[in-house]
């Protein structure tokens, strides 16, 4: 696995959020979902969500498009995001590593 394929913790959170939200994944809902996933124990800014999404899009793990402007957003468009096949694959790889870690710790009666 090349170094660039590795996902950071925040990238994993965002991709998980995208998979859960599916069709309704845009800035605000992703931000809310990530806050929910970290159980509001960590402060998450909307700016960091967007910069991470941009990075993931450059890597080819995410694609985005703009919707029509809506009045409840002051006439501004939503930027929708969707996970790509490569993104799903990268997330699965990362989760597998995490699952291996959990299994390893369980074997020795560790913290998990």
């Amino acid at each position: 696995m090349a170094k660039g394929d590795n996902l950071g913790e925040f990238e994993q959170l965002i991709l998980t959020g995208l998979m859960i939200l599916h069709e309704n994944a845009y800035g605000m809902t992703i931000h809310e979902k990530v806050e929910e996933l970290v159980e509001r124990k960590r402060t998450v800014s909307l700016g960091s969500v967007y910069t991470t999404l941009d990075r993931l899009e450059r890597k080819g793990y995410v694609r985005s498009w703009f919707s029509d402007p809506t009045p409840e957003r002051g006439g501004r468009a939503k930027r929708y995001f969707e996970i790509t096949g490569a993104g799903e694959k990268a997330l699965k790889k990362s989760l597998k590593v995490a699952a291996n870690m959990v299994a390893g710790l369980k074997e020795i009666g560790g913290v998990v």
């Binding site: 800035g27 700016g47 967007y50 910069t51 501004r76």
Partner: protein, 164 residues
């Protein structure tokens, strides 16, 4: 011509308070012989009106505050992306406003904006300045390795050029 907040203070708040002050002064001057109680009532009414004007002016500046936050984001983002972020902030702001009230919503809006500006500004800086900077350093190292006795000499030369 003026920034929105400044214009509001100059053309709305200050004239309103001056008018109220002038009105109360005239009332005290001309109605004092009739009854002192009446003039006191007018003064109290004037004071209340000034407070209301103040409150209205401040409730308007909260919206301006959000405009300033928007401006901060527009500094580092292209208009389409910025519109999406500001739209998200606006949508959640309205949600919080409905649930918890204006003060909490404004507080949330500002903390989110300030927290959001840092990663956005850093990404912008990386995109616009970091690559040329790495290029210059690489050039200096390469020049030092090829042309000079050592790459340190190239850095010294570069430093000299920057200083001069």
């Amino acid at each position: 011509m003026f920034p929105p907040k400044f214009g509001r203070y100059i053309f709305v708040l200050i004239p309103t308070q001056l008018l109220l002050f002038a009105g109360v002064t005239l009332l005290i001057k001309y109605f004092k012989p009739i009854s002192e109680h009446v003039t006191i009532s007018f003064a109290v009414a004037g004071g209340i009106a000034a407070m209301v004007a103040n409150h209205l002016a401040h409730s308007r500046t909260a919206a301006d505050g959000r405009l300033n936050a928007e401006f901060l984001l527009y500094l580092f983002l292209d208009p389409t992306n910025c519109d999406a972020i500001v739209g998200d902030l606006e949508e959640r702001y309205r949600k919080i406003l409905g649930k918890f009230g204006k003060h909490r919503a404004n507080f949330w809006y500002w903390t989110q904006t300030i927290r959001s500006v840092w990663p956005i500004a850093w990404a912008w800086a990386k995109k616009t300045t970091l690559k040329p900077l790495i290029g210059v350093i690489a050039w200096a190292v390469a020049k030092g390795l090829l042309d000079r006795d050592s790459w340190v000499a190239a850095f010294v030369e570069l430093f000299r050029r920057i200083r001069s």
